[in-house]
């Protein structure tokens, strides 16, 4: 796990409350404060999707600007994983290229 257990300045919550969601069909656990990105990275998942040219894509700016972390959530593409909180049971999928919009 990549979650901090202690920190000299910040209080680290030892809250055991866990939210469960799915990434590519596999269960992933997160905390209620997590974004999709922070939960995935905490679970060792660094590749969130692929570009049109099949290059792996991950997390870059963390503030919703760069669009490196786009994922598909419950069928909706182009969701910025870095500024989207996780929800119990949400279905997150890797996005390839620009994704297929749902009409």
């Amino acid at each position: 796990m990549r979650r901090l257990k202690e920190h000299p300045i910040l209080s680290v919550s030892t809250d055991s409350l866990q939210l469960v969601f799915y990434f590519e069909g596999t269960q992933v656990c997160g905390t209620p404060n997590d974004t999709i990105a922070s939960a995935l990275i905490a679970n060792g998942i660094d590749v969130f999707g692929f570009t049109e040219h099949n290059h792996p894509r991950g997390f870059f700016c963390a503030i919703g600007k760069c669009s490196a972390c786009l994922v598909e959530v419950d069928g909706v593409p182009n969701v910025r994983a870095c500024i989207t909180p996780i929800r119990e049971g949400m279905n997150v999928k890797m996005q390839s290229g620009r994704g297929k919009p749902k009409w």
Partner: protein
């Protein structure tokens, strides 16, 4: 339905929040003022700042960034201003402003008499081979992950850029328990404050000046980086390449203003490299070329959070003045004077030069530049200040209970101590945002050095430690004399017992490594390190080898391969026979190049001999 309000503020960072405070305070409440922000938590980039801010008490000097964010948000909310988070302004049209609310998945429409745009900045990207590989992060992004979400994306980091952000993030990574292999800086000097650089140097993190990154190594994520020296024209010098085994690379190569929205208002943009690139043209009241559109903070020119707060107030009071028709000139002037104080120093030169092109003039100089040349009477427990550059900061002066410290008038001045008044209490050590004040006392048999300390673990009296100098290099063995804990401010003072005569050298310490169980004797890797790496998701022998260099020493894995496989099997719950063995690569023993070359040479000779025939 279009909602009509008096003022719409875009961005809940320091500039947006102080703008809201100024407007709502003047209006006697914030019911017609709304802040819209894209992020989850209000405060912009403040919630991820764990360091103490420079400046003076009026703008929260010596308070940590995330705490400043909380204070401002509380104030804004208490004034009745609505802050709408997770909402992005998607367009500013002639007749309407559209805001996409992600929580409710709806685009809402607004009309506002005044707009304060405080959209901040984005980290600049850098072009090098493989730069989109997962594991290459903006430095601020890593700060967000570790300080806001308490997730550390890797174990070993390379930082690109030795400006304040690069230096601060390096220090915060060490605080979070990561290893920073190096800070790489293309220019010939550190761009950030010396006190920030000193903080990280004395922890033993090297700053490689005149170096750049050439390549991120890895196919699906970062496994390393290639760094090379650059010449005076910033071209990499062939043959100087070195490889770093890291799992994360942080880019801290500057910021660029987020001008998209202000541009949509029709406000004029100008290109001003000194201020970060394209910025909105604006006057000294933060008004753009569009009458009712104001800007503040990094959007109006890359600077830092304290001046962003001041600019927010200036914009806010101007807007409030126009809404109410009541003069706020006094308050506005006070804030302008603050800016003028802050921007006198050498680090504000770019900002002053950029603003001059907008016909806004800020004076330079007028602060004390001389360093103090005496370190006080030997034998007395006293503070020693190592703050060599004029930076806008004075908590040492304002926190000293006996008035022994002063920065000489202007806030940018170099602090001096009056040793007759210093009582050795250490308050300044715990308050200094740059962690640049130390305690010193020479005794008969040994000396005492007190060090500001913000790491874990908190040492205990009597612990044996390695004493380090300002560069993080070992100077002698020593021990912890005592610790003055500071549970509120979190900057503790660790007093070290150091051999006599070394009190002017020792500025840091580290623990001796505990006796450990080694698995790989060539690369000195312990069971603990291997287990930790497996816990991070690296469950393949080949991958472990690449990340840790296990089995890559002179013995080629003859000693450690089985033990490693055994640990892998235990940790992953599989059997050794299930685990991919990994390649057995030549050479099986270290072979001298000379020997190889000789054989090639002989073969060549033979071949040449043949062709001669």
């Amino acid at each position: 339905m279009v909602r009509h309000i008096k003022a719409l503020i875009v961005g809940s960072g320091p500039a947006g929040l102080t703008g809201a405070i100024a407007i709502a305070e003047t209006l006697g409440g914030g019911k017609d003022v709304i802040i819209v922000d894209e992020g989850i938590e209000p405060g912009g980039q403040l919630p991820k700042q764990t360091h103490k801010f420079f400046g003076h008490e009026g703008f929260y000097a010596s308070v940590r960034g995330f705490e400043i964010g909380n204070l401002l948000v509380k104030k804004v909310k208490s004034l009745g201003v609505e802050i709408i988070q997770q909402a992005t302004v998607t367009g500013i049209y002639e007749d309407v402003i559209t805001v996409y609310d992600r929580v409710n998945n709806i685009v809402n429409e607004y009309l506002a008499d005044y707009l304060l745009i405080a959209t901040g900045a984005t980290e600049k990207f850098l072009a090098f081979k493989n730069n989109t590989l997962p594991g290459v992060y903006g430095a601020g992004a890593v700060q967000t992950l570790m300080n806001q979400y308490k997730v550390l994306p890797g174990q070993s980091f390379l930082i690109i850029g030795a400006g304040n952000i690069g230096l601060i993030v390096a220090y915060q990574l060490v605080q979070a328990g990561a290893v920073v292999k190096a800070i790489v800086e293309a220019s010939s000097k550190v761009g950030g404050y010396a006190v920030h650089a000193n903080k990280i140097k004395r922890l033993g993190v090297p700053i490689l000046l005149k170096h750049t990154i050439l390549e991120a190594i890895g196919s699906d994520k970062v496994r390393g980086a290639v760094v090379a020296e650059v010449d005076d024209a910033f071209r990499p010098i062939v043959g100087t390449e070195k490889e770093f085994v890291v799992d994360s690379i942080c880019l801290a190569v500057g910021l660029q203003p987020n001008v998209e929205l202000v541009a949509q208002t029709g406000a004029k943009l100008v290109y001003m490299p000194e201020l970060g690139g394209h910025i909105p043209w604006r006057d000294e009241n933060m008004r753009t070329t569009v009458q009712n559109v104001f800007v503040a903070g990094d959007l109006s020119g890359i600077e830092e959070a304290t001046t962003a707060m001041i600019e927010g107030y200036i914009a806010g009071y101007n807007i409030a003045q126009e809404i109410t028709g009541k003069s706020q000139e006094e308050k506005i002037q006070k804030m302008k004077d603050e800016l003028s104080e802050f921007r006198r120093g050498p680090f504000s030169k770019k900002v002053r030069d950029g603003l001059k092109k907008l016909n806004i003039y800020f004076p330079a100089g007028g602060y004390r530049e001389e360093l103090q040349n005496n370190y006080g009477p030997k034998g007395k427990l006293r503070a020693v200040i190592e703050c060599p550059q004029p930076i806008p900061c004075n908590p040492c002066e304002t926190s000293c209970p006996t008035g022994a410290i002063n920065v000489g008038g202007n806030i940018n001045g170099i602090p001096h101590i009056d040793y007759e008044k210093c009582i050795g209490c250490g308050v300044c050590v715990t308050k200094c945002p740059g962690l640049a004040i130390f305690m010193v006392q020479e005794n008969e048999n040994y000396s005492i050095v007190g060090i500001p300390y913000e790491l874990l673990p908190i040492p205990s009296k009597g612990d044996k430690v390695k004493l380090l100098d300002r560069e993080g290099k070992y100077v002698a063995d020593g021990e912890i004399d005592h610790v003055i804990p500071n549970n509120k401010g979190k900057t503790h003072i660790v007093y070290l017992k150091v051999p006599k005569g070394l009190e002017e050298n020792v500025r840091s310490f580290s623990y001796f490594k505990k006796p450990e169980a080694f698995v790989c004797r060539c690369e000195e890797l312990t069971r603990e390190e291997i287990e930790r790496t497996i816990d991070m998701g690296i469950t393949d022998y080949e991958e472990l080898r690449r990340v840790l260099r296990i089995g890559m020493g002179p013995c080629g894995g003859k000693t450690c391969r089985n033990l490693t496989l055994q640990i892998l099997a235990e940790k992953t719950g599989s059997t050794i026979s299930d685990i991919e063995l990994g390649a057995y690569r030549p050479p099986t023993i270290p072979t001298p190049f000379e020997a190889v070359v000789k054989s090639v040479g002989e073969r060549m000779e033979r071949l040449e001999g043949k062709s001669d025939e």
